[in-house]
């Protein structure tokens, strides 16, 4: 494994009871690369992301992250999670904290920064995702879905993670709010951040991804450049899935 590999997943398996969710996933992600994972719902994409930041414990296989195997029992889970930002489908902002407090919590409690420093970093992170000052003291329930998701992205990037994971970040949004979130994600990809994005937004994949992975039934079926996988898939399963998504886009 080369040293430019930030993440290396080997033969990863996960069972939920008898249900075999991940059936031997192999994936390597280079530093600075943005990878888009597409595939039907229930195929295990979210579980894969949750295994990477150890919210879900894989049953078999290896994950090496930042030159360290994180699937052994000895690992400090919190240190790994601190280095991996996670953006959820339903934003999952802390409901009792304002936008800026959401971003500051990890900086104060995990990185042990003094309040002033945490505040400065949080302000910068919020501005970078287009959340301006008048929204900083709003509570999540007072923000639109698009604003909430951008605050959630700010919360993730403020921790200066080495890897960003996005779990269908626009699936819970009103169509007219999807654009503002995708724009922020495109910017992050262009800044050279390492990211793995589970999404159905093939437009985003074509614009911002370095590589696209097609996932089905707990396995990677096909991977390659965005143009190749999305516009000209080799496998029949990927062709069928992408055809229906492309049809949908054309209708819109």
């Amino acid at each position: 494994m080369g040293s430019d590999k930030l993440l290396f997943i080997e033969d990863l398996h996960k069972y939920y009871g008898k249900h075999h969710v991940l059936k031997g996933v192999n994936l390597a992600v280079n530093e600075g690369e943005s990878v888009v994972i597409i595939g039907p719902s229930g195929s295990g994409k979210s579980t894969l992301l949750r295994c990477i930041n150890l919210l879900v414990k894989p049953d078999k296989g290896r994950i090496v992250f930042d030159n360290e195997e994180i699937t052994t029992g000895k690992i400090d889970v919190r240190r790994v999670r601190e280095k991996i930002g996670f953006v959820f489908q339903h934003f999952n902002l802390f409901l009792h904290l304002t936008a800026i407090e959401n971003v500051m919590l990890g900086l104060i409690k995990v990185k042990n920064y003094p309040r002033e420093k945490a505040r400065r970093i949080a302000e910068e992170a919020l501005l970078s995702v287009g959340i301006t000052e008048e929204l900083w003291n709003k509570y999540p329930a007072q923000l639109s879905g698009g604003q909430q998701q951008r605050v959630a992205i700010a919360r993730a990037i403020a921790m200066e993670p080495k890897l960003l994971l996005f779990d269908e970040p626009t699936s819970a949004l009103d169509p007219e709010l999807i654009g503002e979130v995708l724009k922020v994600m495109e910017k992050l990809a262009n800044e050279g951040r390492t990211m793995i994005v589970v999404t159905h937004e093939i437009g985003f994949a074509l614009k911002a991804a370095d590589r696209v992975v097609f996932f089905d039934d707990g396995k990677i079926i096909e991977e390659g450049s965005p143009e190749q996988v999305i516009l000209n898939p080799k496998t029949e399963r990927a062709r069928r899935f992408l055809f229906s998504i492309r049809e949908l886009y054309r209708l819109e």
Binding site: N53, H90, N92, F94, H96, G106
Partner: protein
Amino acid sequence: MGFAEEIVYLVSTYGVSLFNAMLLTLEITSIGFTLGVLLGLPISLGRVYGPLPLKALLAAYIELIRGTPMIVQLFFIYYALPLVGIKLDAFTASIIAIGLNSAAYQAEYFRMAFGAVPREQWEAALSIGLSKWSTITNVIIPQGVRIAIPALTNELIYLLKYSSIAYFVTVPETVYVSKVIGAKTLLHIQIYTITAVFYILVAVVLTKSAKKLEERVSIPGLVVKGRI
């Protein structure tokens, strides 16, 4: 004398001792409740997030308290503890009995409230590297306590009335003093009317204050306004 005059007579003659008795009721209630919060919160945390033996121990404690009458618990503390050398005055014994009893119920209210905090809040906290304990103190407790306020209000009003069990160990609280005055004057209905009005007034004030508190700490935007 008519009913109203009799009430005026009772208040003017026994006003001071009634007032002191009511103060004692409020003292027993508030100290007992506070003790209940201080014990109930850690009990619920241990019961939900603690190691298995602690969980079992605390569950057993809650079953023991809920499974026996409060009056038996009070008698045990007042009459049985002196046998092992712990002698408490009636007032202290009452507060401890009420506090220990309320702790078990409050622990259950807190447990339900913590369970009502969405699972996603846990995931979000863990995903930025917070520890389990840090997640509990910074995310679960602040949200859970807000959820628990209505149930805790209920508990407080319940204790206000059940603080009268102190009567059985001769604490001169409201019911005890009312009984004495009733026996002396034979104006039983009149004196208990005064007592009932006192309890109702306090209960109404507590309900209104709790409502205010609930509104003040409610998370902006999250609570549906205009509900009764």
